[in-house]
């Protein structure tokens, strides 16, 4: 029973001195059930005046609850000795609430009519970070969603519990479930309510991804499957005794089967990326090295098509981005692969990397006369981070302006355009977009018809530590650097 410690009236860091009643109420709403009762019992013993309103909050059976509480206080005093020993070691409630991973806020309001006068009296670290809540800020500056505001109002003035779902906007929009609970009045007469948010992004994303996967797979696999069974039928019938036709058909069948397997690979990989899209990657990748690896790997393919590379790569270590190596390689590979496919014989595929771009230079057009569209723009970030840019250009037929917005759509094919062999799955750019989005980067395309298209990706560069920090890690000297790299 670690919860028997009375709540500390001392608020964490700069959050003034919210009321002990709010703490207790907040805690009971989270812990619920017997734990809450014990907590309030202890609270009642320590500060009876505060426990009473908090107890009323637990619902309709206030009086009954009070009686039970009294009994519990008496019981608790019997077991007080061992409990007190634990309590001495338990951190105060303020610290527990502050460190909860879920955003938790306490909101105060004076009048029901004053719709905008709702203020935060407490917000834990998760809430402050996620919603950029400043001290005693107004509620609407952090949360604008009408459903959530209504739920909070009903808790404040209607005294009811409400749970609503709410989806954020943006490249990595999150799905939240918001719980609003009434907390009664504080000693200045303001109404209090608790707002706890639970991140449901994982759950809802996996539901959506599964549905998408099934829909796409069943739709896209049907065509090659139909063709396969058609050929099998023919081989068992008319073409049974015709070796020439048999060889030809088996060749087509093999190509179709390979296409189906590529399609499944791409769909699976897309699903995997989508599931983790809201979780930023942790590793570090040298973009230039990734590009060199891809160029080496695709050299045979380029040789077959008689296409050459023109690569302008910066020195090692100057274009390090925050990222997942396999995924970054996949981005470069999909783009270069596409470029090879659309470049005519004896053409050149240009691969360039530019480190140290500002958000403005990262999106700056190279050729002002070309049709240009941003396919993905990262969410605005507070910190001015630098980007590393990758450009892959082909000298193919180019893409007409009206097709640009749909390029990253799954299975979208630009009509009337010969892509040579139809070996692509139509998922390459969709995969690129989702990976880049996971990396908090951006993607754009520039195209001039008849002259070729250039795809540009920009990714946030890994934060380099200033030299002095490297030198003085607890006086460890260069040895301290090892774990930082």
């Amino acid at each position: 029973m670690p919860t028997v410690s009375p709540p500390s009236p001392v608020a964490p860091d700069r959050w003034g001195g919210p009321l002990a009643g709010a703490w207790a109420g907040a805690w009971t709403a989270i812990a619920g059930g017997p734990v809450a009762l014990v907590a309030m019992t202890a609270l009642g013993a320590a500060q009876p005046g505060v426990a009473l309103p908090a107890a009323v909050l637990l619902g309709g059976g206030g009086i009954f609850l009070l009686r039970r509480l009294r009994r519990l206080i008496e019981d608790a005093s019997l077991v007080a000795a061992p409990a007190a020993a634990i309590a001495a070691r338990a951190p105060p409630f303020a610290v527990i609430l502050e460190n909860l991973p879920e955003p938790l806020m306490v909101i105060a309001a004076e009048e029901a009519d004053d719709l905008t006068g709702r203020r935060f009296v407490f917000a834990n670290a998760a809430a402050r970070e996620r919603f950029r809540i400043r001290e005693s800020a107004l509620l609407v500056t952090a949360v604008r969603s009408p459903q959530v505001l209504e739920a909070v109002d009903e808790s404040l003035f209607g005294g009811v519990e409400r749970t609503v779902e709410w989806t954020g906007v943006g490249s990595q929009g999150r799905d939240w479930t918001a719980h609003a609970r009434p907390l009664g009045r504080d000693d200045r007469g303001s109404q209090l309510a608790l707002l706890v948010l639970r991140d449901e992004t994982d759950v809802r994303r996996s539901e959506r991804t599964r549905a998408d996967f099934l829909a796409n797979a069943s739709h896209e696999l049907r065509t090659p499957l139909a063709s396969l069974s058609g050929f099998i039928e023919t081989l068992r019938g008319h073409a049974k005794e015709d070796p020439g036709a048999r060889d030809k058909f088996l060749g087509i069948m093999q190509a179709q089967a390979e296409r189906m397997s590529r399609l499944i690979d791409d769909l699976m990989s897309l699903s995997r990326i989508e599931l983790n899209e809201h979780i930023a990657p942790a590793g570090r990748v040298d973009l230039a090295m990734a590009a060199q690896d891809v160029i080496d790997a695709l050299a045979p393919q380029a040789r077959d098509k008689q296409v050459s590379f023109d690569a302008i790569l910066p020195p090692r270590g100057s274009a390090v981005v925050e990222g997942d190596r396999d995924q970054i390689v996949q981005v470069v590979q999909n783009l270069v692969d596409n470029a090879i496919k659309y470049t005519p014989k004896d053409g050149v595929v240009r691969v360039e990397i530019f480190p140290g771009l500002t958000p403005a230079t990262a999106v700056a057009p190279r050729d002002p006369s070309a049709a240009r569209l941003s396919l993905l723009t990262p969410d605005h970030s507070e910190s001015e981070s630098l980007f590393a840019g990758l450009r892959v250009g082909d000298k193919g037929p180019g893409i007409a302006r009206e097709h640009l917005p749909r390029l990253t759509e799954r299975f979208y094919r630009v009509e009337g355009q010969k892509s040579g062999d139809r070996s692509g799955t139509g998922l390459g750019l969709a995969i690129v977009k989702h990976i880049v989005n996971r990396h908090r980067g951006g993607l754009h395309v520039e195209s001039t018809q008849g002259e070729g298209a250039t795809f540009g990706v920009y990714l946030p560069m890994a934060k380099t530590l200033p030299d002095k920090d490297l030198a003085t890690v607890d006086g460890a000297g260069p040895g301290g650097v090892v774990k930082l790299s």
Binding site: D114, G117, V140, S145, L373, H380, E402, P405
Partner: protein
Amino acid sequence: MTEHTVKSYGEELNHLTAEVTRMGGLAEAQVADAIECIARRDAGLAQSVVGRDERLDTLQVEIERKAFRLIALRQPMAVDLRHAVAALKISMNLERCGDLAKNIGKRALILNDAEPMSALTRSIERMGRLVQGRLKDVLDAYTASDVQRAISVWSSDEEVDEHYNSIFRELLTYMMGDPRTINACTHLLFVAKNLERIGDHATNIAENIHFELTGEEIISQRPKLDVIAQ
């Protein structure tokens, strides 16, 4: 902003901002739901979008009254005056966004009677998400008093125009290919136009924020794609 001697004056100004923000949240939700009811063919949601528009109108009238009251009684100067005027202008833009969302809701109800055209509604949805993101960004810039962020919304309107242009051509192709789709396609064209207009209102709001915070108009020429000329 310097501290005001009379505390309630500063509070009144803050509350005006808060009220506009709250209205912004409502407008955002209306736009989001309007896109959703086109994408999912959700008649119930469309009806509630149409029904909820009244609340935006009421809020706008209220903000207008409060802003006038503040100007008349407190006679604000300089940044405070710009603050009150910006609240007034932004609320008008938001109210228009709500009207456009309501119109999309009405068209969604009609579109539900036609055959689904998922390729087209996907394009509309993509454009809608873009516009929705701009509206969110500009409202974030407003609550955070962030000029840079407002400018970045202001200067990226071209993207919405590209999407509109692309949808326009796509719709033409459909209508020429199968005249039976003309009815539905015309409604979708208006939906796209409405979204484009909502994007323009976001740009206007960005201009209002810039003026509120700096006291200057944004002077440079905004990149603009001429859709009709193409």
